[in-house]
Amino acid sequence: MDMTTVLWLFAVAFGASALGGMLGMASGIFIVPILILAFGIDIHVAIAASIVSVIACSCGSASPFLKGRLTNVKLAIVLETATTLGALTGVLLIGIIPTPFLYALFSLILVLSAQQMMARRRQLIRNTPPDPASWATRLRLHASFPDRALGTDIPYQVDRVPLGMFLMYGAGVISALLGIGSGVLKIPAMDTALRLPIKVSSATSNFMIGVTAAASGGAYLVRGDIDMGIAGPVALGSVVGALAGARLLMRMPAEKLRILFSVVLIALAIQMMLSALDIQIWGS
């Protein structure tokens, strides 16, 4: 194990994760392209290493959300049946899917993330009484969360659970295939399909990512796909960086940071797409 590389891996994971943490986003989407483009690591090794850091960040940042009663743990475990099943599908697919397709898919997800970063998250709250026959009612998923500004608990309903589960399955597949938390798919699913309040949606999504990634991470571990010399420093750097980033969250001008991040995401998307095409050209 080359020590200089290990320290660089730690430093880069720390930086990416701290910057991501400032915008409340997971760093996996940056980690994989950086490992491939800057360190010349094989895409499959990068994905398996990144999955460990996704788990680490989810576990490391869960506590304040749980204590603030923002995480809907019942909804999380229900949706985790879909995300873990998706992760399993991803584990089965990753051996079959041609590498250029993985690059192209990653490129697409980077573009979607950039677009999502610039868009405002909309909140759709229904005031009609819950449908007694819906899945959410039968599973007792409707809950409330404390609003600090108002000083009271705000009740909310959970909508369209089957649609949410379908989208979560897709998020699980993408998570396992690309080594990311796939917030890019989870956030629209939770905001738009389930119609959760934004704070509850973010907290619950972050809580679920760890279990989703553990489903693929466990499979990659026993398969021997995880390079410890890469996964170890990247996971440590990511978790320390995420904690540092969350502390800095309030002090940065978020709007400029958003634009900067979108530009970086698009640049990485172009580079990943070029890699996808390069390999096809050399392959043929």
């Binding site: 743990v73 475990i77 584990v91 809950a143 608990d153 489903a215 466990g218 026993v222």
Partner: protein, 105 residues
Amino acid sequence: MNSSTNLPDRHDGLIAALLWYGTLLASAVIGAGILLAAADALDPALEMSAIGYGLIKIGVVIFILLPVSRVMLMMILFLQARDYVYMAIAALVLAIIGAGVLIGL
């Protein structure tokens, strides 16, 4: 509606503590492993590389097991609350993760 739909707060607190202290443990073990490997790089006579690498591996395994143990803890908490539907859902999630490990073998 609130008290019946959510687990009591102390349960959320237990889950939070498991994830937080688990993260600290895994991070400390990986950090110690990197330091030992670094010590070996500076002075190979110490022969710390294998131990360092072993510690990093243990830390990574702790991280992967942490969400799994969180689902196990939730299963136990649901069982205690006699919420058998949710106990079964948690068991299903564990079974799916287990199936993934079997696929990997």
